[in-house]
């Protein structure tokens, strides 16, 4: 450990603002892109299911029309 206390660690030898800002923005950006990818994945799968259900509904409506 290079620092004597936790407060020292947070203080970063006077460069706290720059160091923590950099690390915050970096991991923030990484989290954003990862989460965005996962959210999109869920949305895409939902869209696939919705599309399939819609196609099935159309097919069923067509069948009903034929019968009547």
């Amino acid at each position: 450990m290079q620092f004597d206390s936790f407060a020292d660690f947070i203080h970063m030898g006077g460069y706290a603002f720059y160091v923590w800002l950099s690390f915050g923005v970096t991991f923030g950006a990484m989290c954003i892109i990862a989460i965005q990818s996962y959210v999109k994945h869920k949305a895409l799968l939902n869209a696939v299911i919705a599309d399939k259900a819609r196609k099935a509904r159309i097919e069923r409506a067509r069948q009903n029309e034929k019968r009547s």
């Binding site: 660690f9 030898g13 006077g14 460069y15 892109i33 895409l44």
Partner: protein, 254 residues
């Protein structure tokens, strides 16, 4: 020699490969990034000139190195797509583009935040920051070109051409900017010129580099899966997969 690769040209196989790789990549990324970052922030010795501000190196340098490597990887994927007519190669390329752009942004931001205490200004037209900025422009160009096409098959090919043009240009841009910088600024002390870095400082850097690489791999796999689902949404196997992934939750909710 490369025959074993060819089955992965099929989107289904590529998708399965992504699913297999993903957990390992995430484990590697989280492990390496946490070890490297904690080591770098808390245990690595101080730089005798820059004090604790040099600790930004542990994210700045990996993101800068990998932002360039990601662009090269994109160009290789584009080349593979062109030579073997692989659709998955183009999809991989475009899956990587936003990640590369994000890394370039990180490298620029951390470079600026490091520059402020060192140079007294957020932005200095330093050779490496400038080439990094131009790299960001190249990424934006590829992403914008891909977005402009309706037909994503065509979009992938077009963006691939642009990625290749860019990759031929990267070394030229790099050296021209470096040369331009020496002309205009004379001998400034470059914050990156550490001829010999102490091993206890270097290890966390290498571990973080590996962690960033794993992270890129992990996000690429999920984005590649997104691309595959998007383009193959009418194929039965994608529909089956979507149901498998989502419907169990829904039935439980009911």
């Amino acid at each position: 020699m490369w025959k074993w690769l060819h089955p992965y040209a099929k989107t289904e196989r590529a998708y399965q490969l992504c699913i297999t790789l993903q957990p390992w990549l995430w484990v590697g990324a989280i492990l390496c990034l946490s070890i490297g970052t904690v080591w770098g922030l808390a245990f690595a010795p101080q730089d005798y000139q820059q004090g604790d501000s040099f600790r930004i190196i542990y994210i700045h340098v990996p993101s800068a190195i990998l932002s360039m490597s990601t662009y090269v990887a994109m160009a290789i994927a584009a080349l593979v797509g062109m030579v073997w007519q692989w659709r998955t190669a183009y999809m991989t390329m475009i899956a990587m583009a936003p990640i590369g752009a994000a890394l370039t942004f990180i490298a620029l931001f951390t470079g600026a935040a490091w520059g402020k205490p060192m140079w007294g200004a957020w932005w200095v037209w330093d050779a490496r920051l400038t080439s990094e900025l131009i790299l960001l422009f190249l990424y934006i160009g590829v992403i914008a070109l891909y977005g402009a096409f309706e037909d994503k098959q065509q979009a992938g090919k077009a963006a691939g051409v642009m990625a290749l043009v860019g990759v031929v240009n990267i070394p030229i841009i790099h050296y021209s900017v470096e040369w331009w910088n020496t002309l205009h600024q004379g001998a400034t002390i470059s914050k990156f010129d550490n001829p010999s870095i102490a091993p206890e400082m270097l290890w966390p850097l290498l571990i973080n580099l590996l962690g960033f690489a794993f992270f890129i791999g992990a996000v690429t796999t999920i984005r590649l899966r997104n691309e595959i689902v998007l383009r193959e949404q009418h194929r039965p196997w994608v529909q089956a997969l979507a149901e498998q992934a989502l419907l169990p939750h829904k039935t439980r909710e009911r």
